[in-house]
């Protein structure tokens, strides 16, 4: 069903463009990309995804037609790392990224999405009024803090159980000690090997 498979991309495109429209700063970041197109061959997807940028936003298509300014082969999880150009060489060497064309375009596109800065409180304010928006934002911030706290707490608890109570994992200091002993052992073996070679 060619037409039905378009739905997720049309929705994603709409969402991205709505978000871009809500961040006035994105307009300037987008300018450098206007008129350009990039094609992503993402391991997790069964087809290539082409992104074209115009003055009004991003266009997504799964139909691979014509040439693009940049072609990338990568994995979904690697995409956020592309915003930092210093990562590109490392990713290529690690076999996580293959790129043809202008790599700066990919970096700029990912940065455009990652650096979205939306004032949600102001957006809400326009829709439901200042007081309810402020109240909702406060609840949101508080609940986020609570979630973060409880996550940290459960992480501490899990560490305690695994290391001290059940003794399943070693403590960091034990691990470091073990690592050092291993290094010393390796050096000793190398010395012995050398000695053996010299003797024979």
């Amino acid at each position: 069903m060619k037409s039905l498979s378009l739905i997720p991309w049309m929705l994603l495109e709409k969402l991205i463009n709505e978000l871009l429209a809500r961040d006035p700063g994105s307009l300037q970041r987008r300018q450098k990309l206007v008129g350009k197109s990039l094609r992503f061959d993402i391991k997790e997807l069964p087809f290539e995804l082409t992104v074209s940028i115009d003055e009004y936003g991003l266009r997504l298509t799964t139909v691979s037609e014509g040439e693009t300014d940049c072609w990338l082969q990568t994995e979904l999880g690697v995409l956020p790392e592309l915003s930092d150009s210093s990562n590109l060489t490392r990713l290529i060497k690690a076999g996580k990224l293959d790129i043809e064309g202008d790599p700066m375009l990919a970096q700029q596109l990912v940065a455009l999405i990652k650096e979205l800065d939306i004032d949600w409180e102001a957006e809400l304010e326009a829709k439901i009024g200042a007081v309810p928006a402020h109240w909702l934002s406060q609840i949101w911030r508080k609940s986020r803090q609570q979630v973060a706290d409880s996550l940290q707490q459960s992480q501490r608890w899990a560490t305690g159980v695994l290391i001290d109570e059940k003794k399943i994992l070693p403590a960091r200091i034990e691990f470091e000690q073990h690592k050092q002993q291993l290094q010393q052992l390796r050096a000793k073996i190398e010395r012995l090997e050398r000695q053996l070679r010299e003797d024979s």
Binding site: M1, K2, I7, M10, T62
Partner: protein, 251 residues
């Protein structure tokens, strides 16, 4: 299909004189223009948006291109092309029907699509443009209503630039097993009633169902495009062949 060789021509299931068809089709669209968009959404359950979007994706449109949207009606394709060709490109929305053109123009202007769109009342059989003018030509759900389809295809070929492509989006012959009976029941029993209910016009929607059945099937249309001079003609069935997207190039 050999429209030129006969004095009468199909108008739905009726045979009418060739010179009458244009007027009869005009009556249909004058009657449905105001409710055209609502009816499209209701009749196709919104799927016409996906068909049109797929057409855009297959057009290879880029910034700066010149696009002709024939039988563009209420401007769905034109709106999307306008964004994609940008300020350096141009989209011409052409329709033979003045009422449809007006609805399209008002809709697009209200939505802020201005600057790179031109509105032209034109007959697809005799397009009023210079040779080799457009990079892309589309005709979505329009070719069916044209009296002399071969002449229209030739006229489009003439105004297409070398390297340009024509995309024909049109109802076609369902190929998915079992779909045919369901589709027939829907077209002849449900569709006219919906037309009566929403647009207060059952006859126009009866014509729609009949004209779809009289339209050449996928392979016949492909042959007609090749006959008119297009190269690398291919087609893709959408939604089980209810609709087909034909594509041909001028080299």
């Amino acid at each position: 299909m050999n429209d030129k060789k006969q004095d009468s021509i199909d108008f739905g299931y009726q045979q009418v004189a060739r010179e009458q068809k244009k007027g009869l089709v005009a009556n249909v669209f004058n009657s449905v223009a105001a409710k055209y968009d609502v009816m499209n959404d209701v009749m196709s359950f919104g799927i016409h948006r996906l068909w049109k979007r797929y057409t855009i994706d297959c057009s290879g449109v880029r910034s700066g291109m010149k696009v002709l949207d024939i039988a563009g009606g209420t401007g769905d394709l034109t709106a999307q092309f306008s964004r994609r060709v940008g300020p350096t490109g141009e989209v011409v929305l052409a329709d033979i029907n003045d009422a449809m053109l007006k609805v399209g123009r008002d809709k697009l202007r209200d939505k802020g699509y201005v600057g790179n769109i031109r509105y032209v009342q034109a007959d697809a059989e005799q397009l009023p443009f210079d040779d080799n003018t457009f990079d892309i030509i589309t005709i979505a759900f329009g070719l069916r209503n044209v009296t002399d389809k071969d002449a229209a295809l030739r006229s489009m070929f003439r105004v297409l630039k070398p390297g340009g492509r024509l995309l024909v989006l049109e109802f076609s012959k369902p190929v998915a097993p079992g779909l045919n009976q369901m589709y027939d029941f829907y077209s002849f029993n449900v569709l006219p009633k919906m037309g009566q209910l929403i647009a207060n016009d059952a006859d126009s929607y009866q014509y729609l169902a009949e004209s779809i059945r009289m339209h050449p099937d996928q392979d016949t249309l492909k042959g007609m495009m090749q006959q008119a001079g297009y190269d690398n003609v291919d087609y893709q069935n959408l939604t089980g062949g209810i609709v087909a997207l034909h594509r041909g190039y001028k080299f």
